[in-house]
């Protein structure tokens, strides 16, 4: 049903990866885990970029975008970990629910 060279198989992989990432983000309370989920979501987007690019024009645009996204993810991880560190210093935990008091 799924031939390995078909676009849809890449998209399905991307979708599974996205769902796993989303699930992780929604369910985990550990801030590090939430960040890891975000990484998964970003990588699923990368797979989609490359797949679409390959099956449409065959050029390198998808790969270029993917590299941008990876770079972005690195920056995001750095900022996110810095926030997590700050939260840990204040609340002595990295549970995201501890940061609820920031709402006001």
């Amino acid at each position: 049903m799924f031939s390995p060279n078909e676009l849809s198989s890449y998209l399905i992989i991307g979708a599974i990866l996205f769902s796993l990432g989303l699930f992780t983000v929604l369910t985990r309370r550990n801030a590090i885990s939430v960040l890891m989920g975000v990484e998964l979501i970003l990588n699923s987007a990368n797979i989609n970029y490359v797949a679409f690019s390959h099956y449409s024009s065959g050029g390198l645009e998808g790969q270029i975008y993917a590299i941008f996204v990876i770079m972005l993810a690195a920056a995001e991880a750095a900022v996110g970990l810095a926030i997590v560190l700050a939260i840990f210093q204040i609340f002595h935990t990295i549970d995201v629910e501890a940061a609820e008091t920031l709402k006001e």
């Binding site: 989303l22 983000v25 929604l26 939430v34 995201v96 629910e97 609820e100 008091t101 920031l102 709402k103």
Partner: protein
Amino acid sequence: MDHPIQTDYLRWIVFLPLIGAIINGLLGSAIQKRMGKGAISFIACAPVILAFGLSVYAFLTLKGLAAEQRFLIDRLYTWINLGSLKVDMAFWVDPLSAVMILVVTGVGGLIHIYATGYMHEDKAFWRFFAFLNLFTAAMLILVTADNLLLMFVGWEGVGLCSYALIGFWYQDHNNARAGNKAFIVNRVGDFGFMLGMFLLFWSFDAQGHGTLTFREMAKWASTLQGQQLWGISVITLATLLLFVGATGKSAQIPLHVWLPDAMAGPTPVSALIHAATMVTAGVYMTARLNFFFSTAPETLHVIAWIGAGTALMAATIALTQTDIKRVLAYSTVSQLGYMFIGVGVAGYAAAIFHLMTHAFFKACLFLGAGSVIHAMHHEQDMRKMGGLKDSMPYTFWTFAISVLAIAGTPFFSGFFSKDEILWLAFTSEHGSPMLWLLGVLGAGMTAFYMFRQFFMVFFGECRADHHTQEHLHESPKVMTLPLVVLAIGAVFAGYVGLPTVFGGSQFARWLEPVIAAHGEEHASHALELGLMAVSIIVAAFGFFIAYLMYYRAAFSPERFAGLAGGFFYRLFDRKYYFDEIYQVIFVNGALLLARLGSLFDQYVIDGIVDGSASLTRFVSWLNGLFDNYIIDGIVNAIANITFGAGNQFRRVQTGNINSYLYGILIAVVLAIIVKLRYWS
């Protein structure tokens, strides 16, 4: 008349007295302090005498010309040029104005000289002469104006000076009131003059040649024939309105009431303004516009009867007066009445003739009365005089001559002029025997009251108090000399206008270029002599009664006063109740109107103002309510709603990242569903 001779000296006849008035008016106070009253007298008298010289020169120039060319003009500049209205500042002298300027500057000059003596004790000497000169200038403008509008300037100017000089001793409230009365009554007449002038210009303009110049008006006068306004001929209406102006200035019924009160002014003023010159302005104006008046027989009729009524009424009042100046004042009103009889029977030349002779003898009478008043320490009541014959010989003799002249004694000036008017009143197509009869009756009374005055003042026992009697003195030369000159005029001025039976009037011939001679009447010389005899007899009768009553004291005046239960005496003494009637109707009427106006103001106008104020306040109050409750309510409601909504929605912000993410997820899913379901 077609080619008027342009001159450049006529203006100085007007300007010289004006310059005198300006110098004395602006600098008089200082001059009087530094250089004394002599300097003021010189500044005041010299211009008038010079103007008299110029007038004589103008007169001789005219005399040297052919009759139809006797016309000098001095055009200064165009005064008003507005649409079809073009008015020049121009002075002219034709035979008629020549007579007037000679009278005004001649008699006026004598009165100026007299006044320097009469007013010598007065502190405001300079003010008096400033106004007297200004009056002379205004009067000269009036008589030399070449158009109706400029004439009106003089007309108003003399009215103003008259007002100022009647109230000259304004410290006494009564004098100021008399001045006001003269001014206000004249105002009524002037209004008529103005309306008449407007009407004339308007109807000339409708004919395509709008003009106010006398010469052009005379030329176009015939075009107004047949023009009508409200069903009345325009000429009749305009001449009637102009005559209203004349009744004001010349003190005819019903506007005569101011002249007797005007005697409140200094006596030279009474002589110059209220006897010799200003009051004759109305006569001059009607004579000047004779080409209109002659074509309006209805107006002439009105004028003749008003003149006769005034002549008779004023004469009857003069019978009972005891104030030396008031007798003369009523006599003036009466003589003006004669002049208007003359005008009313289209005998303009006769009217002007009487004007001229009257100027001489009435000025002389007034100045004589002034001399008496001067000697009596400002006593004017004749009942306190008497026996002045010996102590004041000059005054006595000049007064006597003038009394003879005014009473119509044969071969004195008044006889010729009055007789010519009476003669015309009898024979003219506009006249009637009735008119003549009224005139003769008036003449008889004139003789009576003038001799009554004469006897009361100069004969009999002196009734003044002891102190006054001791100080009785003849007036100084500067006062008696004008008296003598005027008395000579009072005798001989009549000889320029002899009746037809004695060779015809030179005077009428002189005026012929201006005033078309009334057609040669074919009445017989016998009739003329007969009428003359009647008037002489009536005058002699008047004299005789006065002689019996006041000289011989053969019977007492009270017997006459008591006739008909004293009704007539009271009527005459109270001046026919004119003042009282005017007080009730006009003065009280005006006050009532004012009171009504005040009530109207108080209740209606103030009510409206207050009402609108209250209304505004009420509307503002409503506005305030609207603002407070509705506008503020809306604003506050919006704020409250926003606040409430914010309060509710803040619960959404839990601070829990997971719940936010759920929110995002749900929103995205919903968005996808909506996209697929509705926009696919």
